[in-house]
């Protein structure tokens, strides 16, 4: 119930713009969206050898600004989490 009333439905324009942003990021980088998932699994596997990470929370996505496109990986560590609590 909490967020129910506050959540505003996205306008069609926003939905279109958001979908376009993603499609263009993948087109420009020449990588299929599904490939990003594969990449994510491999990154998780490699890093897990050395660090304890929260695999379910890992995010790999494109971030675009005028100058460049970058691949941003957000990989939360389990230990860091515990400490915060």
């Amino acid at each position: 119930m909490r967020n129910f009333f506050r959540r505003r439905r996205k306008s069609e324009k926003e939905v279109a713009a958001q979908r376009l942003r993603l499609v263009l990021a993948h087109d420009r980088a020449n990588i299929e969206p599904g490939m990003l998932e594969v990449l994510k699994d491999e990154i998780i596997a490699v890093i897990s050898k050395h660090l304890e990470i929260d695999a379910a929370q890992v995010k790999i996505e494109f971030s675009e600004d005028e100058a460049e496109t970058r691949l941003v990986a957000d990989i939360p560590l389990k230990t860091a989490r515990r400490r915060r609590r």
């Binding site: 324009k13 713009a17 376009l20 942003r21 499609v23 087109d27």
Partner: protein, 262 residues
């Protein structure tokens, strides 16, 4: 001095390349410039009917390339601006393989010796027809519609032009419906420009008179009351270097509409 060669391209089909070429050709001719429009959509000839010149055709671009006639003889004079606008028609019963990139370049350069502007109406797609159409271009105008698929294809074309080492293209957003943009139900030109990160040279509203214009072979740029016509007149002036503010697409206010003003 050699005229400027401008190719009108899009990636996606049916977004308004031919409509744009016809209107800008007439728009520039009306401003007093000498223009040659080249229909590069071989096998799918359309620019002739949009300009209303289909009955005057004797030769086509493939005849010129094959040396059966000269460029000068193949050019069809416009009825409205006979001294300023001429059309080089596409061949209708041939296919795009009939001409090479070098052929198109040779014809376009020759045309540019006889005109201030050469406008090339590119075929849809990103294959051979697209490549020969952009090959001789000094400048490329990319037409898109406010739709996810059309913008995506425009981005692909922009990327290809960049890969070919061409000058940065300019964007025309065609078929904008101001009411939908106002209600946030349609991508607005600003968002599209932002996503594609290229220069905007025109916003053309959806306008029913475009259909009747194509029925009659009298492009909307000739119609003083048409909003799309006004948009094309503005783009024509921007092409010759004038600074023209973008049209206010919010439309006449309620009161203006009531009293028939503006």
């Amino acid at each position: 001095m050699r005229g400027k060669i401008i190719t009108i391209s899009s990636g996606k089909g049916g977004v308004g390349k031919t409509t744009t070429t016809a209107n800008l050709g007439l728009g520039l001719a009306a401003l007093g410039y000498r223009v040659i429009c080249i229909d590069a959509d071989i096998g799918l000839r359309n620019l002739d009917v949009i300009l209303g010149l289909e009955n005057r055709i004797v030769y086509d671009i493939v005849n010129v390339i094959e040396g059966r006639t000269t460029l000068r003889r193949a050019l069809v004079r416009d009825k409205r601006f006979p001294e300023h606008l001429r059309l080089l028609p596409a061949a209708q019963t041939r296919n795009k393989e009939a001409i090479s990139e070098e052929d198109m370049e040779r014809v376009a350069y020759e045309a540019a010796e006889m005109a201030d502007f050469v406008l090339i109406d590119s075929p849809a797609g990103i294959e051979h027809g697209f490549r020969y159409a952009v090959r001789p271009a000094d400048r490329v105008l990319i037409v898109t519609n406010p739709e996810v698929s059309a913008v995506r294809d425009a981005d692909r074309v922009i990327g290809l032009l960049e890969a070919y080492g061409r000058a940065e293209p300019s964007l025309i957003v065609n078929r904008i419906k101001p009411e939908l943009v106002r209600r946030n139900e349609m991508l607005d030109p600003a968002s599209i420009v932002d996503l594609l990160a290229i220069d905007l040279i025109g916003i053309v509203p959806e306008d029913r008179s475009v259909l009747s214009a194509s029925n009659r072979g009298q492009p909307v740029v000739l119609d003083k009351r048409s909003s799309a016509g006004q948009a094309y007149r503005n783009i024509s002036r921007r092409l010759v270097g004038e600074k023209v503010p973008f049209m206010d697409l919010r439309g006449p206010s309620f009161l203006q509409r009531l009293f028939g003003g503006a």
